[in-house]
Symmetry: none
């Protein structure tokens, strides 16, 4: 008989808070205040911080980057024609974006959540997100 439920890993809030701290450390090193969002594997908010000086409109973009990374289980990166990516963003109410700075948190081959970073350049946002994921024991990102 087909089982009705499957088992799945989920990030704890303690781990999510450690992700925030790792992100803040990297942002401070780079000298750029950031908005940092951690979501669970379903894209729901787990932890968030807006560092002093970070842009308030980056609250939403960091959330949507994290949500998009959790949904696709991949980094938010341009991967197809620009007009298709724009339409995907529009048709999901801005949730499905490929702006740099969203990174999945992968443990034992499962996506357990994601981090999204915004308020710097795309490259800074991505660098902070990649560093932040390392705070989770055994975590990998899309590219290892």
């Amino acid at each position: 008989m087909m089982p009705d439920v499957i088992s799945q890993l989920k990030l704890t809030h303690e781990a999510a808070l450690r992700v925030l701290h790792a992100a803040m450390a990297k942002a401070t090193e780079l000298g750029v205040p950031q908005c940092v969002t951690v979501v669970d594997e379903a894209g729901h908010l787990l932890a968030f911080v807006r560092m002093t000086g970070a842009r308030f409109l980056s609250i939403d973009s960091s959330l949507n980057k994290a949500r998009a990374a959790a949904s696709s289980r991949r980094d938010t990166l341009p991967r197809q024609a620009a007009d298709a990516e724009i339409q995907l963003a529009v048709t999901t109410g801005g949730k499905n974006v490929t702006l740099l700075g969203g990174v999945p948190i992968i443990v034992d081959g499962q996506c357990v959540g994601a981090v999204g970073v915004g308020s710097g350049t795309g490259e800074q946002d991505r660098e902070v997100a990649l560093a932040a994921v390392r705070a989770v024991a055994g975590a990998k990102t899309e590219f290892g």
Copy 2:
């Protein structure tokens, strides 16, 4: 050391489709066409059917009943003063409702999803939802 991830059960889409069929059988028995929504434990849509003749405005209400039951891990039932319940509905954009017809699906003590039913009377909606949950192996609702 505190583990960074926890394990959680999740409903399969095969089970969700069986929930739809059990709901349709009960709705047919009652003689009332229904909208039936199954969501996962995070409130995301897993499966849906609108039976011929069911009201199209019940699409959203069945979804929101399911989502509210998944979030609270309880049946959608009035539990406090009406004005507080209405304010909760308003402040969550209509997602947090206590209209009859939303029931969590609980397996091994964990909420693995929920079903929401709409288009009949509140009592019919609830009866259909309670019957539908039984299609999941070992599933209980809030009240057993």
Copy 3:
């Protein structure tokens, strides 16, 4: 074998425009300028007029009254506890209302559309809507 499609009646735009005119005639007789919306059986806009002097916020309420009548195939009337009706309105984004003034257009026992009227008192809105439906050949409302 179960047929994959069923046949359904749908209001023409010519009939919808006649409904507007019948509504305007009754509104003029009552001395109250009105917003009048005609929707098809799926609740999509077919025809609309805002008479000179009618309230612009009644544009939306006349649309939602019509949509609710098309969905339920009944007049928009209070039918259950006030808090449940308010929650239904909220959970459908304001679409499922029971404010007076929405009336289904029923031909050969099928709901083919609905009319919604707003900008007067509830009783005036309802009176205009009931008169307007008579412009459709053979049409009945919920109560005949």
Copy 4:
């Protein structure tokens, strides 16, 4: 005299559920879990399934692809300048998209509904949608 109503075909929920199953079979063959939405000719949700492993942000995009195909009675395909298509998506709140994967269900020359698929590549989504339509007796898509 001009008749006030016209006759129109409408998809049953039994047929819609068969469309889901045909889509799941093709998705399994391709090895890509999908979100599959079936809407009626008015764009209202009839049936939906999210296969285990499909992206949760594809729930909305599969719905909007289906809705756009039902409205245009054509496949969702780029047909004009990218900026115009993006503006159309924006001005309809993300509903009018031309992302690959939306296909109308045409019976006896009438659009009776549509299917929308999302979570794979655009080409995979479209292939699954085209296969799914074949589950409806006598159904054609835009291109036969």
